[in-house]
Symmetry: C2
Subunit: 436 residues, 2 copies
């Protein structure tokens, strides 16, 4: 029903609730078929999708050109256009992603912890798909394939709501996904695109608990806050990444310089880049001038507490200024870092638990007790010892895929792969036992 | 601050928001201390609580008597009074529960799945407390101890909101919990009781995401629906238990009769009692008269589809009537059962997935393929083969404790024990790795 050419027919706002109900109902029906699909069939669909992505580059790029032309006419700027563009190498990357998912073991149907109980029944838990997920995302059209392929592998159905600027690309990509599903003998409705750019569709999608089990928004903080506030179903939400590196006493200074440099400067825009640097007083005099020289050379502005500022202010070429209270909360996503000297691991843990966004925080240390305490007491989705916060990523963590990074504690926490799209139900095997 | 005698001071409605903020803030502070408490200390608090429950029977019963007198004066009926009463044997049961929890292994700090990744970092997941839970429950005061002891063992803090009819009992019990916490060196604020019976307190408790991580309501469907609708934090919710037994072809008829009897009649009021009986056509003529005779003898009313009705109508003494569409959805919690003859396991699975409340459903069969399909395809929190639905229970499942039964798919599903009050955070161990 969501054929690429159907959107004009439903331009009328009044038809939108019916359209969304239909999408929901079709997704729910498809989800039951997906849940019991054999692994081989799901993998066949993924391999078929990869082949289609490679054989249909020209028509995909033709659709993409329509989006690019519209975006250019609307005055979209360079980096935004780059995100929208479907290059051949982008398509090859997502095709490879589909093949990698196909090669992964199927976690659906796995039974864990089966144990005999005193009554004689055996009780375990079976991993099953969560049902239907709704995905709301912005410009990059390759997310359409990432979400679709995760849905197929995990035995879920999904309803995709991409950015309006990518609607033609997303329609063309979704048509290929549905072709691959059909060719493998799976329901095309397992992956549906909201075929209209009407903004009201989002409000409807997030308030259909009878059809949609979870919403995954990807985009700016405003979008995610709005969705979390209005949704009537659970949301796997990723708000901000105010990540920290804490340089402990004692630590290997050369290693600390290398990791603190990488965590901030390897890329400024990802959510797992570090925004705050805490330094134990005992190593500050040795460590700070070294990292400060690197940051200065790379044009990274340093917003410091008075103690750090005193040690860094005279570095040649360094942009150093006083940090405000607000700086400790800030996710800069830019060549800016806040720096504070702390007494010890206790003060570092306290600062992080107060100001961080509970995304990813790292300690650089040689002290085993400090490492253990940091791991246990820092209340963040990913806690690290002697590694760059930039590793907080589904692929680097070995999940094989990533649909988002959750900063919540409920259900999924940290990078979310296939398991985040599943639930565990109890399985009981008896021989006629009754309760006495 | 929530001393038993403080409630009069905050009678003014205008002070309630401040009171709830204070409870929340104190719980949050306590939760950080609980999260890092050693197992031995938490177990000491649980053992101390058990000892206090045994040594303080007289003062507890004196407080309980105040509740009972007030309830009697208000015209509360027999079974409601029974639920409210703190008998010596009830106190002994919860004291034993505390000791059993103390004897269980501590799951907090456990690290699972630690694996080396291609970058050289090792990545695993650590089980940590979820933080602060709010528990909203009705008359039984022993739930206060069950919730408090689970909070202590799981390293969480909790805010308890018991029924107004049990306020004196709950105050006395909470005072003992806080005494046990203090004696063990843990923060008394780890377990706090909302010290007022003002109904507005619930609305405030469920809308403090800055302090409360999850709400667990226990009570009627209306209460739970209201809380789910208004909460601004996740809710572990248990709505209704419309559980089914499906008698397959082929099956051991004697076993099927025994289990179908137990699932319905062993107790009528629990959520895991069966409300619907589905029978494969091939065994209906043999099975239905046998179970029908038992139900008739026990006074169980049978609401049947035409086919089952034809087989049961002439049973001596049987209360048999036609089922309406609504009957298939009904949670009777009474000596009533709906009965339907189905063609096969496919129709049974279809019926259950349409009408059941996704709580607990069982197949009674000798067919391995049917059993496998039922386990995989029935979309319920607990699915069973050849066992009574009455086993769906945290203790019977070996969880050691139960704080509720979740009919959701998100986070916790089915009986919720300590693990449902925890989350998994990623732990990364490196030797100075940086991202390239």
């Amino acid at each position: 029903m969501n054929a690429p050419d159907s959107s004009n027919a439903l331009a009328a706002r009044s038809e939108l609730p019916d359209l969304m109900q239909t999408l929901g109902s079709q997704a729910k029906t498809a989800s039951a078929l997906m849940a019991r699909a054999p692994s081989a069939i799901k993998n066949k669909a993924l391999a078929g999708l990869a082949a289609l992505l490679r054989s249909q580059i020209a028509p995909l790029q033709a659709a993409n050109t329509l989006d690019l032309q519209r975006a250019t006419a609307a005055g979209l700027a360079g980096p935004m256009l780059d995100r929208l563009k479907l290059e051949a190498k982008t398509l090859e990357t997502v095709a490879l992603g589909c093949e990698q998912l196909a090669a992964m073991p199927d976690v659906i149907g796995e039974i864990i912890g089966m144990k005999q109980q005193p009554s004689g029944i055996r009780v375990g838990q079976m991993r099953v798909p969560i049902g239907v997920f709704g995905m709301i995302y912005e410009s990059r059209p390759n997310v359409t394939i990432e979400a679709a392929s995760l849905a197929i592998k995990s035995g879920n159905a999904c309803i995709l709501r991409g950015g309006s600027e990518a609607i033609e690309s997303n329609r063309a990509l979704t048509a290929l996904v549905q072709q691959a599903l059909t060719q493998a003998g799976l329901p095309a409705d397992a992956v549906q695109l909201v075929p209209t750019t009407d903004r009201e569709a989002v409000g409807l999608l997030i308030t259909m608990p009878q059809y949609v089990d979870v919403i995954i928004p990807r985009g700016g903080k405003g979008l995610i806050e709005r969705i979390s506030r209005d949704a009537k179903v659970p949301v796997i939400k990723h708000l901000d990444g105010n990540c920290h590196v804490y340089v402990d006493d004692p630590c290997d200074i050369a290693m600390a310089v290398s990791v603190a440099d990488n965590a901030k400067t390897q890329k400024y825009s990802p959510c797992n880049a570090s925004e705050g640097l805490l330094v134990a007083r005992g190593v500050a005099a040795e460590f700070l001038p070294k990292i400060g020289a690197i940051y200065a050379a790379k044009g990274v502005e340093m917003r410091c507490d008075p103690e750090a500022q005193a040690m860094l202010a005279k570095l040649p070429g360094a942009k150093v200024r006083s940090a405000t209270e607000q700086d400790w909360y800030e996710e800069y996503l830019a060549p800016v870092i806040s720096i504070k000297v702390v007494a010890d691991v206790d003060e570092a843990i306290g600062h992080i638990n107060k100001y961080s966004s509970h995304h990813t925080d790292a300690i650089l240390t040689r002290d085993h007790m400090h490492a253990q305490r940091f791991l246990r007491e820092v209340d963040s989705a990913s806690v690290m010892v002697n590694a760059s916060t930039r590793f907080a990523d589904g692929f680097e963590f070995g999940l094989g895929a990533e649909i988002g990074i959750s900063t919540d504690k409920f259900h999924a926490r940290g990078p979310v792969g296939i398991e985040g799209l599943t639930s565990l139900k109890y399985v009981v095997l008896g021989q006629g036992q009754v309760r006495s």
